[in-house]
């Protein structure tokens, strides 16, 4: 057995060390001598890019899109901000979500330095605990900024609205929107404009997950339940300890199950920022899919979503890796098809060995052979591929293997993989255009993560998959 495992690890490492011919990752030079632990990235006019640092500086970068990155220049626009995790540019202002408030700033007298720092809303509580982070979104279609508020010490709700998502309107009102949050790492929209955040593994969160912030919903961690009354919300779900998400969801429909579980250690262990691909093909064929940063493993994952019976669910795939530090914000320029990522490993270790980084990723124009989408059927899954498949291997059920499991919903930290099942792939039917395969599976388990390994298949031209593993969270089985 030890031999088999060793073989397995060697194979994984070999894959990991191959440089990508599909995506070009480049480090953007940073201002010399500065500690640039990047917490948020905003795109500005004239291809300027603003970043904030965990130390509270705001810098503006020119030349980040250029062919010659040695020509990049930086100017320091502001200092003394409180660890912002969320920034966007709108109509001459940079909007920020800082630990204590949502604010906006601008340079009124045009001397190149911000001089006007307007506080839009500071109605949530902070008490000086380092873990009381606030992550803020871009504006939604109403101009509201969605803010997810980490628990005190990531365990308790010692300050007002900890464990909640609140919306901040342009005129500074705070609307309590969802409860049940633990420790967010980032927040963003899908192509429909629905809002999602990444919650990290811990109490009442067996494995890190992409969660849908449906207004009025509960996300699983009851620590912030004490604010339901203050919010004028109905009584919160009293979730049972040592239960399962599905069990509690069926008891309490307001408890929206995580849209996509990122199995702990298998697909990262500290997911962060979210960006939706609306580039119209400028970043590859992943239309409307989400990219999710990963701090610990220094990666970016890819997520395809679908809505079944009114609930979001979908699959996560490994996508980009090898970044220089832990990735926190991800920002996709939809027009240019350029992905900017930044990050830091201060306080939380990362595979990338630098203390901080700012990088950009461009698509080379070459499409990898990959599962483009994975969608659920009544009796299995449909895989759509980026390139035609080889019918012999893709049509053979033995080319695939599947395991399914879930996690314990509990008040202790994290969970092992439990209730393991081995769904059986009984047929693999290749479509006429050879771009998709319908897997017929017996033994699908509602509520479980379904791990599909498609290691045996080849493209029509004989290429193996770039990434063979997919992890689909089956909240609902289509009727």
């Amino acid at each position: 057995m030890r031999f088999l495992l060793a073989l397995c690890i060697t194979a994984t490492l070999a894959q990991a060390s191959t440089p990508s011919e599909y995506y070009l990752r480049e480090e953007i030079p940073l201002p010399p001598g500065e500690v640039m632990e990047i917490g948020s990235i905003a795109l500005m006019p004239e291809q300027k890019v603003a970043v904030t640092t965990r130390r509270g500086d705001l810098w503006i970068c020119s030349g980040a899109y250029g062919d010659d990155l040695s020509k990049v220049t930086w100017t320091k626009f502001a200092q003394g901000l409180h660890e912002p995790f969320g920034m966007f540019w709108k109509a001459g202002w940079l909007y920020l979500t800082q630990r204590p408030e949502v604010s906006r700033l601008k340079d009124d007298d045009q001397d190149g330095k911000a001089d006007t720092f307007e506080t839009i809303c500071s109605d949530w509580g902070i008490n000086g605990d380092y873990h009381e982070y606030a992550f803020g979104s871009d504006p939604d279609k109403n101009g509201d900024i969605w803010v997810v508020l980490c628990l005190t010490g990531s365990f308790t709700a010692d300050s007002d609205w900890r464990g909640w998502c609140v919306r901040i309107t342009p005129d500074g009102k705070m609307i309590p929107t969802c409860s049940g949050i633990r420790s967010p790492g980032g927040i963003g929209f899908n192509s429909e404009g629905d809002v999602f955040y990444m919650d990290n593994q811990g109490l009442w969160n067996g494995s890190s997950s992409l969660k849908w912030l449906k207004p009025g919903s509960f996300q699983g961690n009851p620590s912030g339940n004490k604010f339901h009354k203050l919010a004028n919300f109905p009584a919160p779900p009293e979730v049972a300890d040592k239960s399962r998400v599905l069990t509690e969801h069926l008891k309490y429909p307001v408890f929206i199950p995580p849209a996509v579980v990122f199995p702990h250690t298998l697909v990262g262990q500290s997911p962060t920022g979210i960006a939706c691909d609306m580039t119209d093909g400028k970043f590859g064929p992943w239309k409307n899919q989400l990219y999710v940063g990963e701090q610990c493993h220094s990666q970016v994952q890819r997520v395809c979503l679908e809505k079944v019976n009114g609930i979001y669910q979908g699959a996560v795939f490994h996508f980009l890796q090898g970044f220089e530090a832990g990735i926190i914000p991800v920002r996709l320029d939809q027009k240019a098809g350029m992905l900017f990522v930044g990050g830091s490993n201060r306080g939380w270790a990362s595979r990338g060995t630098k203390a901080f980084t700012f990088e950009r990723v461009k698509w080379t124009g070459k499409t990898p052979f990959e599962i483009e989408t994975m969608t659920a059927n009544r009796d299995g899954f449909t895989l759509n591929f980026t390139q035609p498949v080889d019918p012999a291997t893709a049509g053979n059920p033995a080319s695939y293997s599947m395991a399914a499991w879930t996690y314990i919903l509990q008040q202790t930290y994290g969970s092992p993989e439990v209730d393991r099942a081995i769904p059986k792939i009984t047929a693999a039917t290749v479509s006429r255009d050879q771009k998709s395969v319908r897997l017929k599976i017996s033994g699908l388990v509602r509520g479980h993560v379904h791990h599909l390994d498609s290691k045996g298949i080849k493209s029509a031209s004989g290429a193996p998959l770039w990434h063979t593993n997919a992890y689909y969270t089956l909240n609902e089985i289509p009727k």
């Binding site: 130390r55 060995t353 293997s401 314990i408």
Partner: protein
């Protein structure tokens, strides 16, 4: 085909067969502790290779894996302040045993294997624990394997008296004298909690010739003398949190050197930490039973004629503190919770060494001197809202607070001897009562000058300060802006 089925077997059954401690370590632990056990990011995270924490009694390591550990911890001479999440709910007993067996026998670690039954019994015995350990807590239960310090022939003496500075010990008679065979400087030999002093004398063994660095932190005062030459000194009173720590370097030949430490506890908390680094070494060794996080100061200061801004958790103010360090060494901390400048001080502005290192846990006090706490309560009515600040062309702030239809503008800048504050109201309406202090006795001196407590003088340009029920206020008329100047006595 055989090849393929081996792979799928491998993928599907990994968790059933994976008691390979090395693989489990890679999966669960290596992100932070490093695949080489040396701590990720070049040792930015605690090493397990060569760490006493995983040696000896396995209970210590098992408990840390089960329940996690947070706060300051000294590992192999370096202090970390991070948080390890509890793994007890994630990793089963046999996997924890396999991981710890691997850790205790890898990278030249040589400790016995850990079996799953021991993990199981410790899990059962600590089942009511639901918070991570602190280093101090777990060391009380499971001390690290003993290591002798570089001090020998160490003798401690305890003295009692109401001193406010370290006394001349020559004419004093000690209450007790003890030999410290372990070479450890510890306050545990004093029967007193307050108003006492201690002296330790012994011999420091320098293993090689070169520059030795010493680090001293204490609550309250302490001195270190080597070869009868003063090396380090901390005077006065204050906490042992790194902000008053001192370091010094001494060139020593290899061999033994007379070593003397004096310590004074005035009142409140007590503590002493004394560490040293050998020439060209990066790791601290400790001569005390307590260790001090050796902070590298990160001075935050005014530059290019503009004030520095520090928005963070400033001790003495609230969580929404906004610090301004003006050129010339005058500083304020404005609270956006209480809508007033709560602290003013002189000298250095702030040190980023707490918040800008690791997770940044805690509140950082002002780095300078003459700190005056003006107020700690809300200065304006409950409905008042903080609206941010505007910087003038040289970077001086005007804080803005909306009170109904009026906006209070509160500007601060440095002058040659202190601070100038301008208060005005935009929007017409009633006069506003502005809190000047809720805690300092206010006494009119001459003209429009008032003494605020015993350190500060405030002068108005005509407006009168009123004191009622311990609160000093100023009545601000919308038509009449007021200028106040603050200076230190």
């Amino acid at each position: 085909m055989i090849y393929r089925s081996l792979f799928s077997l491998c993928a599907l059954t990994a968790s059933a067969f994976a008691q390979d401690g090395g693989q489990l370590f890679t999966q669960h632990c290596s992100a932070c502790h490093g695949t080489d056990g040396k701590g990720a990011t070049g040792g930015a995270f605690p090493p397990l290779a060569g760490s006493a924490w995983v040696a000896g009694d396995a209970d210590r390591a098992i408990k840390i894996v089960l329940h996690g550990l947070h706060g300051p911890i000294n590992v192999a001479g370096k202090t970390y302040n991070l948080a390890m999440p509890p793994q007890g709910a994630v990793i089963p007993d046999d996997h924890i045993a396999a991981i710890l067996t691997f850790v205790r026998s890898s990278w030249e670690n040589q400790a016995s294997a850990v079996n799953a039954d021991l993990v199981k019994s410790i899990r059962a015995a600590t089942s009511d624990r639901n918070t991570p350990w602190t280093a101090e807590e777990i060391l009380k239960l499971h001390p690290l394997p003993f290591e002798k310090t570089a001090l020998s022939s160490l003798i401690s003496r305890v003295y009692q008296g109401p001193w406010s500075a370290i006394p001349d010990f020559a004419p004093l008679k000690p209450i007790s004298v003890e030999e410290e065979h372990d070479g450890i400087i510890s306050l545990s030999d004093s029967p007193f909690k307050e108003s006492f002093a201690m002296v330790w004398e012994g011999t420091f063994e320098a293993p090689s010739a070169g520059d030795y660095t010493f680090l001293l932190d204490a609550d309250d005062a302490a001195t270190v003398t080597i070869n009868n030459k003063p090396c380090l000194k901390i005077g006065g009173t204050g906490p042992m949190n790194g902000t008053r720590a001192r370091r010094g370097t001494m060139t020593l030949p290899a061999g033994t050197h007379p070593f003397r430490v004096e310590y004074l506890q005035i009142k409140g908390n007590q503590g002493i930490a004394l560490g040293w680094k050998a020439p060209a070494s990066n790791s601290w060794k400790w001569l005390t039973d307590k260790t001090a996080p050796p902070r590298e100061p990160i001075p935050i200061e005014a530059a290019d004629g503009r004030p520095a801004i520090y928005r963070n958790f400033i001790a003495g103010s609230t969580a929404r503190a906004i610090g301004f360090g003006f050129p010339g060494g005058f500083n304020i901390s404005y609270s956006a919770d209480n809508l007033a400048t709560e602290l003013v001080w002189t000298g250095k502005f702030m040190d980023g060494a707490l918040h800008w290192v690791e997770r940044g846990n805690g509140k950082e006090p002002p780095a300078g001197e003459n700190v005056v706490n003006l107020s700690k309560s809300r200065a304006l009515p409950a409905a008042a809202k903080f609206r941010g600040y505007k910087l003038d062309p040289t970077g001086n702030p005007t804080f803005s607070v909306q009170v109904g239809s009026q906006t209070l503008l509160d500007s601060w800048q440095a002058n040659a001897v202190g601070l100038t504050r301008k208060l005005s109201i935009s929007g017409s309406g009633k006069a506003m009562k502005i809190l000047i202090s809720d805690r300092l006795a206010t006494k009119a001196t001459t003209g429009h000058e008032y003494a605020l407590g015993d350190k500060l003088l405030v002068t108005t340009d005509g407006a009168a300060l009123e004191t009622t029920e311990g609160k000093t206020t100023l009545n601000l008329d919308p038509a009449k802006p007021v200028t106040l100047t603050y200076r230190w006595k």
